[in-house]
Amino acid sequence: MNNKYEVVIGLEVHVELKTATKIFCGCKTTFGGDPNTHVCPICLGLPGVLPVVNEKVVEYGVRTGLAINAKVPNYSKFDRKNYYYPDLTKNFQTSQFDLPICENGYLDIEVDGVVKRIGITRAHMEEDAGKLVHSGKTISSSNSSNVDYNRVGVPLLEIVSEPDIRSSEEAKAYVEALKMILTYIDVSDCKMEEGSIRADANVSIRLIGAKEFGTRTETKNLNSLKALQKAIEYEVERQTEVIEDGGVIEQETRTWDDEQGITLSMRSKADAHDYRYFPEPDLPPIILTDEYIDNIRRLLPELPEARKKRLIEMDSLSVYDANLVIAEKFLADFYDEVRKSIDDPKLIVNYLMGDYYRELVAVGLDFSSSPVSTKDFSELLKLLQEKTISGKIAKEIIPLMVKDGKSPKVIVEEKGLVQISDTGAIEAIIAEVVAANPKAVDDYKNGKGNSIGFLVGQVMKASKGKANPGIVNELLKSVLDK
């Protein structure tokens, strides 16, 4: 990129809330389903129907507001945003205009070790639209479109950032941080592949040092972090080129074409921007008492930042390890549960992120889909701590635990993998090994201390890895030093 310019980015992130039912009716929000099967008179906008607000949506809105450090005003209301599009059933979207459920929040993000605060203007509740399926190959080449209204009325929270983001990396970090928080507070699945979190990016550039913002474009339809980053980078490059060529950026809506890797202008007949917002007459206002808000605050789970801090300060984990553990709420909870019975944080992290994680990746699972319980995982670490098994044996056991969810104790017993700590048995093996390797014994006696390593290895091999390496070391030394 041309380094004369500074990039200014604001993101609008749409998050589908994981309620059981839609925002204004009792239809289920389950993803998928045959076309037009999760539809009732209300979400279909049949003449005469009326909306009733799902209380969970308000609760999740407030919870999110508190988690993103926002103010939750006592008074909030719904408004109608009027525009025509066949994926809407009423040709207006019930949304919030001037009095949203949360205002003035922020998130701290970290890029290349630098922490930066990104302001959040607001978050408001609204309903999702349906899905247009184009019968032709592209939108423009087909004669007709098919409409499925299953997604109409699924509750959304639109979280609008301040134009504080300065690069595609920061944009990615912001969305990741947001995703992490939203999954921690359990208000959304944040599955980008199912569209349950998606972003619109407002991008502009200006000469470094300039006070005024440049004209921005809004790129919609960013359904993955990769698309988000690529679209921003493309837009920055395109705008730079236009300006360098003496052109002017037009304020417009663009869409990201993932296949071509470019943004396209969306200007069409359907693009007259005057939403004619007015207060939704069918929905009375929402008045939230301080008590209600405080109650939700009290029930808020520990958020990722606080958790990270605790792991570093209380468990003495490195920043790197702490970041690994908190990256996923499931993993962080798993860690905390194991930690209750294993008083060795480093050991937990080493096994979680080491042998265990590698095995999960190898078989195509992730932490949350693995059959291994916290109890079994703790048991494994306990066997290690008690030296009932060696690290080598643990490596053998883990795949079996992942394969069929068996407890490590059972596996150890079934396979006879218990570590040999019986000195008599080990002494017998040592005697054999010493007799079979006179040269190594001589080397040791002649001062080549490291040849003991070879002998230990031979003992371990002879014991099929079951001998307790500590005891082997000790006994071997005493035999050789005799």
Binding site: V39, G136, N146, A272, P284
Partner: protein, 94 residues
């Protein structure tokens, strides 16, 4: 304020009413009449008056997050002007 032909075309576009020329001219006159009639409100000073969008003093009307039956897909599509299997069918978006 007075409404011009351009305003009429813009408003008709926002409201998705494909007016013909004759209608545009007719609405230009009629809307101006009606809006003149509405100008009367400007006689009143309402600077310190709160707007009333709901006459009833009620708030926080919520439903619990409990799944209810959706419609049978045949009922959903019962009145559809055009359908393609279980989808509503519309002309393409150009």
């Amino acid at each position: 304020m007075s409404i011009t032909k351009k305003d009429i075309i813009h408003v008709a576009d926002l409201a998705r009413l494909g007016l013909n020329d004759e209608e545009t001219i007719k609405y230009e006159k009629e809307l101006n009449d009606v809006l003149n009639f509405m100008e009367k409100l400007n006689e009143l000073n309402t600077d310190d008056v709160e707007p009333t969008s709901h006459v009833l003093d009620i708030h926080n009307v919520f439903r619990s997050d409990v799944v209810e039956d959706s419609l049978d897909v045949e009922d959903v599509l019962a009145n559809a002007p055009d359908r393609d299997e279980d989808y509503f069918k519309v002309p393409s978006i150009l």
